[in-house]
Symmetry: C2
Subunit: 206 residues, 2 copies
């Protein structure tokens, strides 16, 4: 992903928090000389300063068949918004603002026992009060566990772009914030725009 | 993408309408033996029974450098929702419902004149009242047009999955609909769930 420097986020905590918040991601892989993708929830498996992602596919899913150490790209998306130049004081072109994390890495399959452990964690993550994790040896859970393929995505390149108009004059950033702030769905985005603007203003008087 | 038959949509009009509604997509490509992706708006270019997608990248974007006829996958996403088994009458596992279109094809670059025409259409599509398309020969628009790489994605495989629990008993589909219907953001999804349920009920009395 091409990321102009003003949009690039490198803070590991911000990146991991973003993945946890938007954990229904896309796994894109190279499959039979084409690029293919699936939509799945990912579990962040943190250790020391680092993390791995765990995911699972239906057994019928051919995209990671017959492969070991294949490359994978996990894509996580936050809010996005069309940005009209009418929001700007200065002349410009329309654009699109968005927030995304890309995790590039290698896929390693996990076995039945590890899949069972991870599925428990996955359910607890999305639904802390679910009674299911205690019952995974029962029907219909146990037979279904045999029908999944679990894998780790072991990251070797992590990219995070929060494209929020940081390259525009402060008046234009304020114009965009003002236009988008009515939309409750964009709160994650407008909160950061507001923060960027207040950091700029604070530095003005230093 | 692995699509169980009950989730597969093949109606061309539904697919094109979905892309137009969710046209800020992802372009995934194979780049230097890895998979890479960018987030961009796509324009649907319809002709006869068919369509092409047009998109553009910043000149600095290396992912389609030095390549002709490379493969591309455009991914368009609709709403998605975690589905708890507590919504169900019958015992089941948690899952995720989602709506997506994948367009696989070959990338062909477009030249300056074609890029200019397409940018006009793109702006008119997202913002019908914008004065910009008439002014593209002025500053700052004209110099910026020279800094983009435009391309067609010419489809050869189109996949559409609306995963809305159609494989579950009707009581469970009703349970999910009931749980999700409070969320206004999922209206596109719950409208279709409602339609599936009403088609089922109508057929019961045939």
């Amino acid at each position: 992903m091409y990321i102009p420097e003003y949009f690039r986020i490198t803070d590991r905590k911000i990146i991991i928090d973003f993945i946890k918040k938007h954990s229904f991601g896309i796994l894109a892989v190279i499959s039979s000389d084409d690029v293919d993708a699936v939509h799945i929830p990912f579990l962040v498996d943190e250790y020391k300063e680092n993390f791995k992602l765990w995911g699972h596919l239906a057994e019928g899913n051919m995209i990671i068949e017959n492969s070991t150490n294949m490359r994978g790209l996990a894509i996580f998306q936050g809010p996005d918004a069309y940005i009209s130049p009418v929001y700007y004081k200065y002349k410009s072109v329309p654009t699109w603002d968005y927030m995304t994390v890309h995790v590039h890495g290698t896929l390693k399959f996990t076995d039945f026992n590890e899949n069972t452990e991870k599925i428990k964690k996955l359910i607890k993550f999305f639904e802390p009060d679910s009674p299911i994790p205690d019952n995974l040896s029962e029907k219909p859970y146990f037979p279904m566990l045999k029908q999944i393929k679990g894998f780790y995505l072991i990251p070797d390149k992590i990219e995070c772009a929060f494209k929020l108009g940081q390259n525009h004059p402060i008046e234009d950033q304020m114009g965009v914030l003002n236009a988008l702030t009515k939309n409750e769905n964009l709160k994650e985005m407008t909160d950061l725009m507001e923060k960027n603007i207040s950091i700029y203003k604070k530095n003005m008087f230093k």
